[in-house]
């Protein structure tokens, strides 16, 4: 651990302030709680919200997993994991099952989360109504009145123009039948995982200074229409490494002629399946 800094970097006063915001957010599922976001030694937009949430809840007994795009070995995930290894000296892991806290950018792991785990999302823009109404004063009023008609109109316009809802990620959800919420830029493929998730989901937006939460087992519904039900992405291909036909796949261009290869975005899930398979072959 680095000398001269408190455990997990933030001072205890700041952690207390953030924990209060987390408690409030958990008590009002999907509601964005303003908090006094600190300036972190990592850039805004690179996970400062998630880092502050993680720093406020992490203890010496925790095991931390950090993923970006589902992978443990992407540069920013490496950098954030290293930040906590240096400032908190906690155990880190790449295994979803072993982690007590998972900080993520843009994915929910394929391995189902269990009760007792906490997943911390990095959020760039917390306000689901922002592209429809740029003014915070106005969007707060809309949330207060549950005035979400504008969002349904937007989705309807998508259907009129493209024949389907043209949102692939950060797909809006309603939490506990009340607050419209951005699930952060996870692919809509991951939205169903949030519904009645046994783990606690915390969302931190550092630059925008907001924290929100989905408590365990809370209903989370992706917006849709009766005649245009919500659907997730799917691939005709299977993962070229582990053969999974049900995970979110990254498409990788492998040569100049544009040939593609599809592999799991969740590296832990993929390597776990490969290990199991080679174990079965050896046996």
């Amino acid at each position: 651990m680095i000398a001269g800094y408190n455990f997990a970097y933030l001072d205890e006063q700041t952690k207390r302030m953030i924990r209060r915001a987390i408690l409030k957010a958990t008590a009002i599922p999907g509601y964005q709680v303003p908090f006094a976001s600190r300036e972190m030694p990592l850039p805004y937009g690179w996970g400062t919200g998630g880092i502050q949430v993680t720093a406020s809840i992490i203890g010496r007994g925790d095991t931390l997993k950090v993923i970006d795009q589902g992978a443990d070995d992407t540069t920013n995930a490496v950098s954030i994991r290293r930040f906590f290894a240096r400032t908190a000296g906690v155990r880190t892991t790449e295994r979803t099952r072993e982690a007590s806290i998972i900080q993520t950018r843009h994915r929910i792991p394929e391995t189902p989360l269990r009760e007792g785990q906490i997943i911390v999302f990095q959020v760039p823009i917390p306000e689901p109504l922002r592209w429809l109404e740029p003014r915070e004063r106005e969007t707060r009023r809309m949330h207060a009145h549950a005035d979400y008609g504008a969002m349904y109109v937007k989705l309807y316009e998508d259907i009129a123009r493209y024949g389907r809802i043209a949102t692939g990620y950060d797909y809006p959800v309603v939490v506990n039948g009340r607050y419209l919420m951005r699930p952060s830029p996870i692919p809509k493929f991951d939205n169903p995982k949030l519904d009645r998730l046994p783990a606690l989901a915390l969302f931190g937006a550092g630059r925008e200074k907001r924290i929100y939460a989905v408590p365990p087992h809370t209903p989370v519904k992706s917006l849709d229409f009766e005649d245009h039900p919500f659907r997730v992405e799917s691939w005709r291909e299977r993962c070229a490494l582990c053969g999974s036909g049900s995970s979110f796949l990254d498409e990788i261009v492998v040569d100049d002629s544009g040939r593609r290869m599809f592999v799991c975005s969740d590296t832990d899930y993929c390597s776990g399946r490969r290990a199991k398979r080679s174990g079965a072959e050896a046996a």
Partner: protein
């Protein structure tokens, strides 16, 4: 090739080594010292202190050196350090009226008590590259055609009686706008709210933001952003008819009142640049017409910043003064949410982080939309895709 799109710890370390080499430059050339940076690139240091919201020349110089001269990166370094510092005390408001100015000009009066004093300014220099400087020789000092700077002003005593604290104290020249105020021709400096100002680094902004919070935000805001916004008001997007009532730059004392003493003590001195802008008048059937004000203040020698800030401050008061609104510089949320260059730089540059999961979703979507046939939709499996069923 699969590994190639992922980064790793070793790649990061190697990149940081390269960065250290690039920062050092040619090892044959002597390394910059912090004294050189703070002494000879002093305006860069001033800007980093202002936008970093931390008055420390040495740390700002270190930040500039470490950031290879990238001032926004240096501001970021300084901010990330500042955020770890405890708040020991709140100072009393600095008294710029008691400043011993090194520069002081008014564009609204030809002459005024205390005189006009150019000080160390780029104004009226001819912007000709000075090749003598390149050769390492100091430029010949320009002939001094301005009134000589007065000798050092007497310092305020270490303890100041708060009761004796009046505007335009004899230690500094009277404020130019005080002459207008004496005739009731200009509004009193608009109140900023309470004696206990908000701290925008400790409390999230809420809207409408009080003026004290707005001024704090502008004071640490990006100079380029404020410059463009201020400029836009001059070109008609929220025009305010500004005159530079007074600009002064110099040292002011910083005082705190320790609880156990009960009176103010001076803890140090900071250089600031202040701009008092006189703007178009407002009045009504019941209120006599008066000029209005805009205010700018920056750490160090930051005249461009202070002037731009004063324009934007005034523009942001349009609502309160009952003027037409709608220009970008008059829009609180637009200005205050986008003024911070550390936030802006981080978020703009986060686009270089991997986004391939989101992009994959978009690819999926656009292919579906293009296919546009019921067959493509029917090919989708049921949404219960998340799991480990195979």
């Amino acid at each position: 090739m699969y590994v190639a799109v992922k980064g790793g710890e070793r790649a990061i370390e190697a990149a940081h080594e390269l960065l250290a080499q690039a920062r050092r430059g040619d090892p044959q050339v002597p390394e910059l010292t912090l004294q050189q940076v703070s002494g000879q690139l002093s305006l860069a240091v001033d800007r980093v202190m202002a936008e970093g919201s931390l008055y420390d020349r040495e740390l700002a110089a270190l930040a500039i050196k470490q950031a290879r001269g990238d001032l926004i990166e240096a501001v970021f370094l300084l901010r990330a350090f500042r955020t770890t510092l405890p708040r020991l005390a709140v100072t009393r408001p600095i008294e710029t009226g008691r400043m011993a100015p090194r520069r002081r000009i008014s564009a609204t009066f030809k002459d005024l008590p205390g005189g006009q004093m150019l000080g160390p300014t780029f104004d009226y220099t001819h912007r000709l590259l000075d090749f003598a400087l390149a050769a390492g020789a100091s430029a010949a000092p320009e002939p001094a055609g301005v009134p000589a700077e007065p000798g050092p002003m007497p310092r305020a005593p270490a303890a100041v009686d708060p009761a004796a604290d009046v505007n335009g104290d004899a230690r500094g020249p009277a404020r130019a706008l005080a002459f207008l105020d004496a005739e009731d021709l200009i509004e009193r400096p608009p109140m900023t709210g309470s004696d206990d100002p908000p701290d925008i680094t400790r409390d999230p902004l809420a809207f409408p933001a009080p003026r004290a919070a707005r001024l704090q935000n502008l004071a640490r805001g990006d100079e380029g952003f404020l410059l463009a916004l201020g400029y836009s008001t001059q070109r008609g997007y929220g025009r305010t008819h500004p005159f530079a009532g007074e600009i002064r730059m110099g040292e002011v004392e910083v005082e705190i009142v320790p609880e156990e003493l009960g009176f103010a003590i001076v803890i140090g001195e900071v250089t600031v640049t202040e701009c008092d802008m006189v703007n178009q008048f407002a009045g009504s059937a019941t209120e006599p017409a008066r000029f209005t004000r805009g205010y700018g203040l920056a750490f160090g020698e930051g005249e461009r910043k202070a002037m731009a800030m004063a324009l934007v401050d005034r523009a942001l008061r349009a609502d309160q003064l009952g003027e037409d609104t709608g220009a970008p510089a008059q829009d609180q949320e637009f200005v205050l949410y986008h003024s911070d260059n550390v936030e802006a730089s981080g978020f703009v540059q986060h686009l270089k982080l991997p986004h391939y999961v989101d992009f994959q979703s978009e690819l999926n979507l656009i292919r579906r939309i293009r296919a546009g046939t019921p067959r493509a939709v029917a090919a989708e499996p049921e949404p219960a895709a998340a799991g480990e069923e195979d």
